[in-house]
């Protein structure tokens, strides 16, 4: 019998962590993540989950505890939002540099100043270059499924994975979620094997100071310098799409749900205009595309599921091949330029023959509501401008008083 529940995104995430038999949890409360930290405490204190729960005094320590525990071979979990994620920044680099398969939820929230507790994706986008894999979820079912997949991915490529989902829009919204059985998850997710064992019989110093160039060890064998280690991390992330797609495929086979590997498409086969976004806004875009089709506009959606590593050029180009216009909706901005997703897409199109007009929108910052109807209007107004020959469109701030 299927175990279907009506739960919030935070509850789905807590359930997933429990199903993955996490052994050490360290978390510090912040809206909208708090409920997740609380649920996990309840699981641990009531004996539903056998794990060490370290109630740290801040997020820098939360990530540090995960790093320490993962280093000695425990499967770890943490979650945060917004300023909590920013406070971890130093440790995010350290976790990735240490090649530790930490899985963390980022419950997306705008960052201060000024304070906002509401949703956008500026927090995780600002961590783009930390060496973490970043996956974005559309709904609560996808949160649960993605966390389980994230451990498989992380423990295969030895890189940390950030599972991002929108604060309040998903974290506090009830949706039906099907839970796999613990036995099925255990079968899908073998126990974590650390890449290095800290042992008195084989003493070593991990992450000691490195010189720019390679150096020989005691036997004269040349060992990595700093740059070689950086290259290996880059290489691991560059090669991870294969793993991400394969894990998604096996998950679909085992549990019957396919969330797309690196990206997913909605009615793109013959689409002339493609809407693109990440997370819950991408789900909203599918509603908008359907509505546009009813008005005779051939619209489709490409949802970016994995933002880092960025989907490979081949896959991106194939997804957008027939589009004449590409309209982006992003919940973040790279100040002084445009939305980060827009820049990356344009770079992927370079030299590919895709010459569609691209119109970027910054939308929904600090929780400003974005309805499917507003996406429809935005797309129509973009198309009208493009039809008039305007191809160099500046980023539009949707639903924002810009006078």
């Amino acid at each position: 019998m299927t175990d279907a529940r009506i739960i919030t995104g935070n509850q789905a995430a807590a359930l997933a962590a429990r199903l993955c038999d996490v052994q050490v949890i360290a978390a510090y409360p912040i809206t909208p993540q708090s409920q997740l930290a609380e649920m996990l405490s309840l699981y641990v204190e009531s004996g539903q989950l056998r794990a060490e729960y370290v109630r740290v005094e801040g997020e820098h320590s939360a990530m540090t505890v995960c790093i320490g525990a993962s280093t000695v071979g425990a499967r770890v979990f943490t979650a945060t939002s917004s300023n909590g994620l920013l406070y971890m920044h130093e440790q995010l680099h350290w976790a990735a540099g240490s090649r530790l398969p930490i899985v963390m939820c980022c419950v997306n929230r705008g960052v201060g100043a000024p304070w906002s507790i509401f949703n956008d994706q500026q927090d995780s986008l600002a961590q783009r270059d930390t060496g973490w894999i970043q996956m974005y979820c559309r709904d609560n079912q996808e949160i649960l499924d993605t966390i389980i997949q994230a451990y498989r991915i992380a423990e295969t490529v030895y890189a940390p994975v950030m599972v991002c989902y929108d604060g309040f829009v998903l974290s506090h919204t009830m949706m039906p979620v099907v839970s796999p059985t613990p036995a099925a998850v255990r079968k899908f997710l073998p126990p974590y094997k650390p890449h290095t064992i800290l042992d008195s019989n084989n003493p070593m110093t991990i992450n000691s100071v490195l010189l720019p160039n390679r150096r020989p060890d005691a036997e004269g064998v040349l060992c990595d310098g700093y740059m070689e280690m950086r290259y290996k991390l880059q290489n691991a992330l560059n090669r991870s799409p294969e793993t991400i797609r394969e894990v998604n495929r096996q998950y679909a086979e085992a549990f019957g749900r396919d969330h797309g590997g690196m990206l997913w498409t909605h009615r793109t086969e013959d689409a002339e205009v493609i809407l693109t976004s990440m997370g819950s806004l991408a789900a909203e875009a599918t509603v908008a595309a359907d509505a546009l089709r009813e008005e005779g506009i051939k619209a489709g959606v490409v949802g970016i599921r994995v933002f880092r590593p960025f989907p490979e050029k081949k896959e991106v180009v194939a997804a957008y091949r027939n589009a004449k216009a590409i309209i982006l909706f992003e919940k973040s901005v790279s100040y002084g330029y445009e939305g980060g997703l827009c820049s990356d897409l344009k770079a992927a199109f370079y030299g590919s023959g895709i010459n569609a007009a691209i119109h970027d929108h910054v939308a929904g910052l600090g929780g400003r509501d974005v309805k499917a109807r507003e996406l429809v209007e935005a797309v129509k107004s973009s198309l009208a401008r493009i039809a008039e020959g305007e191809r160099e469109l500046n980023t539009t701030w949707l639903n924002c008083h810009t006078e």
């Binding site: 320490g68 150096r215 060992c223």
Partner: protein, 301 residues
Amino acid sequence: MPQNLFKIHEKEYVLPGTRACQGCGLSIAYRFALKALREDTIVTLPACCLCVLHGLYPLTPVLVPSVNNTFASTAASASGIAAGLAALNRTDTTVVAFAGDGGTFDMGLQALSGAAERGTDFIYVAYDNEGYMNTGTQRSSATPMGALTTTTPVLTKQQHKKDFLKIMEAHQIAYIATTTPAYPIDLYDKFVRAKRIKGTRFIHIHTPCPPGWQYPTKDTVRIGRLAVDTGLCVLFEVENGKFRFTGRSRTLAEKGNKLPVVHYVERQGRFKKMSIEQLSQLQNWVDDRWEEYKKKAAESK
């Protein structure tokens, strides 16, 4: 307690070829600390001179499994290692955090306070060379009044050293000790004791540093002993809230023959611009603490 140096565990865990300076007090302290801790120990350390002592990848002179961490995170790193080991039932391993005064008194304070408040099962060692030595002898909150550093290059440090041991006492942890590499048996003994106790243990090591303090490398032990003789470094232990002087400090407390601080100050270049006023303030600061400690020792009897 070993009666003399020959009774100390003979295995070396710090081999020759460390990258520390000649005459480094930390090197002596680390050598004897690891002899006391022995196998089944994991050390976590931040950016500091100890990180330099551990050598450059892929070589290390240290025979204890160790992990580097970031400057502010040493105690949290130990918390994570301890939690991970507990989750894996590896409870026979001693987790030791080893950080400098900067990584303890300043940046690492939050993580240490958190770990101590949670009663994390680990030994935290603050080796105190009274400045940010690794980055070139800048002032820290552990630098004594009147010392020249590269960030107090003209006027000298204007404030007293932070009384960090009081902060640790306020956490009511299982064990607190102060020691110095100038008395290696005292140091060794305290690590042996700390290893046997459960819960959070804190050891402060007063660590002479020739380049930072500006004295000849041959004088490390002499300077360390003068610090004890003048009461700038007081050797004690606090276990279950009970305070007791140990070693040379106990003798000084019994005999009342503590030396004036000038004997310590005059041998170090870092104090060459110290004013007479600062010298007397430093003396008063030492005397006040000395009286406090004597009172605590009497109350703990």
